[in-house]
């Protein structure tokens, strides 16, 4: 700690951990957007809902924190499937309608969480958070190791799924050109279900991690949604490695802001990055223009 460069190490480590998590948050969003072309503005609210679910299990039913992942993943995947049906029923203009509907859903979920969990700030503090078993000199805390590990594992798993399985190939085909995929015999409706199922599982995985690393409160979702939108626009759809790089860059920017200006300015970073991104490259950094 006496080293002069210590804050920089801290910024890098925090940024890396945050960024890996952001990639996980954005991954489900970008899969759903890629397959259905719907920006799901309730994404962040679903993540926070998953966090609350894990919090309730951990706090009231004494479920060990690591065991909350399984029910959360299952529950959120089940919750995402009706959302798929809801978005399928929309008429033209599809993009704007899906935006408005998911905006309404975000408002609904926000109020639902207010009823169920009140407006208090909640944090999951499992046993492994107490003390740093690797010694105080090691820059990563146990929390951050778990965060990075889970995020990278999930991201890696999705990468393998997309690039080394038949389902992944069908999903990528649907992302690239839904009509051509249909001509080739791919059931795009089924692909939409698969995307929402996978997206829901990723949300369910992100939820408990969110609750462990950031405070849960009913209106916390907007921030997570913004992050998912930013990374999806930055990386384009189905590009997992770019998504990770984007996540790390954003995480670094945020951790640098937290260290220099204070944690209250963190939210502004994501918003400003999104505005700059939209102002100069609305079609994304590495994708072709859509519509």
């Amino acid at each position: 700690m006496s080293v002069g460069g210590w804050p920089w190490v801290q910024i890098l480590v925090t940024g890396f951990a945050l960024g890996s998590f952001y990639a996980l948050v954005a991954l489900g969003f970008s899969l759903i957007f890629g397959i259905t072309r719907a920006f799901n503005l309730a994404h962040g609210e679903l993540v926070v809902l998953g966090g609350y679910f894990a919090f309730a299990l951990w706090k009231f039913y004494q479920v060990p924190f690591l065991a909350t992942f399984v029910p959360c993943v299952l529950a959120l995947a089940l919750l995402a499937l009706p959302l798929c049906l809801l978005l399928r029923g929309l008429r033209e203009p599809y993009g704007l309608n899906s935006l408005v509907v998911t905006f309404g859903l975000a408002l609904l979920l926000e109020n639902l969480m207010l009823v169920l969990f009140s407006a208090d700030y909640r944090l999951i503090r499992p046993e492994l958070a107490h003390g740093n078993f690797l010694g105080s000199d090691f820059p990563f805390s146990a929390n951050q190791i778990l965060l990075v590990l889970m995020s990278l594992l999930a991201t890696g798993a999705i990468h393998v799924l997309l690039h080394h399985t038949f389902l992944g190939m069908a999903l990528r085909a649907t992302i690239q050109d839904p009509e051509a995929a249909q001509v080739a015999g791919i059931n795009t409706n089924l692909m939409a279900f698969a995307a929402f199922g996978l997206g829901g599982m990723l949300i369910g995985l992100a939820g408990p991690l969110y609750g462990e690393n950031m405070y849960l409160y009913p209106t916390a979702g907007t921030g997570a949604t913004l992050i998912a939108i930013i990374l999806t626009i930055f990386a384009g759809v189905g590009r997992i490695r770019t998504l990770l790089v984007g996540g790390w860059l954003l995480g670094l920017a945020e951790s640098a802001t937290i260290m220099t200006l204070g944690s209250k300015w963190r939210e502004l970073v994501a918003a400003m990055v999104l505005l700059i991104l939209l102002t100069f490259r609305p079609e994304g950094i590495s994708t072709r223009r859509q519509e």
Partner: protein, 317 residues
């Protein structure tokens, strides 16, 4: 070319009923309050719809609402501006933000504009939340001066304390804004905006200056929205960031407009007059917390089953 339109007559009849019922129930304080705020939100929705005429779906009108609120509150508490002056001048903050918005987002359309507007709220919100020395941060500001008392030859209206007078003020505001929007929609400019919404290239080809017309609509919308925000905090007497920069403030004008029907001038007000009292009078007693969830349900159902809004119920299909 005066043509009699049933829709205008209907709107006038509703306005008349809204103006007359308090004479028969002078003690219904709760109803004055609820319908007064419904009129305020109706004005807000009308302002939102003015921008939406050009095809822009804004998910971030809370930015204008909050800036107007804070602009007015700061003028009022630092320089002790009279309330009316503070409201009219403070709303200029929203106008300035509208100019910035028009400048930064001029290339964005449709979904991407919606996303940008969602992020745009965060900027003034975080700055105001953190600028403790000026705005008292998340503590907010209390003790703002209430609306003044009007006196006209022996007749007085205490807009600040008398709920009935306040109700009439907000009703008049909503009616005036509705008339303004009606005139706008019938004017060349109104048609130019709708032409932009339908097909920008074709509109530009017949000589509509797309950016200029859209910016004009946004500026009118932002100033009106700011004024609603300023009025709102002076009615309450306090302001704090989560109160005015909330997702809900962004969502309400959109929900009221789409539910009421965006293609009729009275649609947004109609939506506000139906939904807000319904939520306040029917759902709040049932669910003291989180009663605003009903808005989420309403907008989802509206988009699914009634995408044109209820004012187009008869004519659709």
């Amino acid at each position: 070319m005066k043509s009699f339109k049933p829709s205008s007559a209907g709107a006038a009849a509703v306005a008349l009923v809204m103006a007359l019922w308090p004479l028969f129930f002078p003690d219904a304080a709760l109803y004055f309050q609820v319908f007064g705020v419904a009129c305020l939100y109706g004005t807000l929705a009308l302002a939102w719809n003015l921008y939406a005429l050009s095809g822009a779906i804004s998910l971030g009108h809370a930015a204008f609402f909050g800036l107007g609120a804070y602009g007015s509150a700061l003028l009022n508490s630092y320089w002790h501006c009279p309330t009316v002056v503070a409201i009219l001048v403070g709303s200029l903050a929203s106008l300035v933000f509208g100019l910035l918005w028009a400048l930064c987002f001029r290339r964005l359309r449709g979904v991407y504009l919606g996303l940008a507007s969602l992020a745009a709220v965060e900027v003034p919100k975080v700055i105001i939340d953190n600028w403790d020395s000026l705005t008292f941060g998340s503590l907010g500001m209390t003790g703002l001066s209430r609306l003044p008392t009007l006196s006209l030859v022996g007749w007085q209206a205490a807009l600040g304390s008398d709920l009935q007078a306040q109700y009439y003020l907000l009703l008049i505001l909503a009616v005036l804004t509705a008339i303004l929007v009606k005139q706008t929609m019938a004017s060349r400019w109104g048609w130019a905006l709708r032409a932009l919404r339908e097909n920008e290239t074709a509109a530009a080809a017949i000589g509509i200056a797309a950016d200029r017309e859209r910016t004009k609509a946004l500026l009118c919308s932002s100033y009106l929205t700011g004024m609603c925000g300023a009025l709102y905090v002076h009615i309450l007497g306090l302001v704090e960031p989560p109160l005015v920069f909330s997702l809900q403030i962004s969502a309400l004008p959109l929900i009221f407009s789409i539910f009421g029907g965006r293609s009729r001038f009275y649609g947004p007000v109609l939506g506000a007059l139906i939904l807000y009292p319904l939520e306040q009078l029917a759902f709040q007693p049932l669910f003291p917390r989180g009663h605003a969830a009903v808005y989420g349900v309403v907008i989802i159902l509206t988009i699914l089953f009634l995408p044109q809004g209820i004012s187009v119920w008869r004519t659709s299909k």
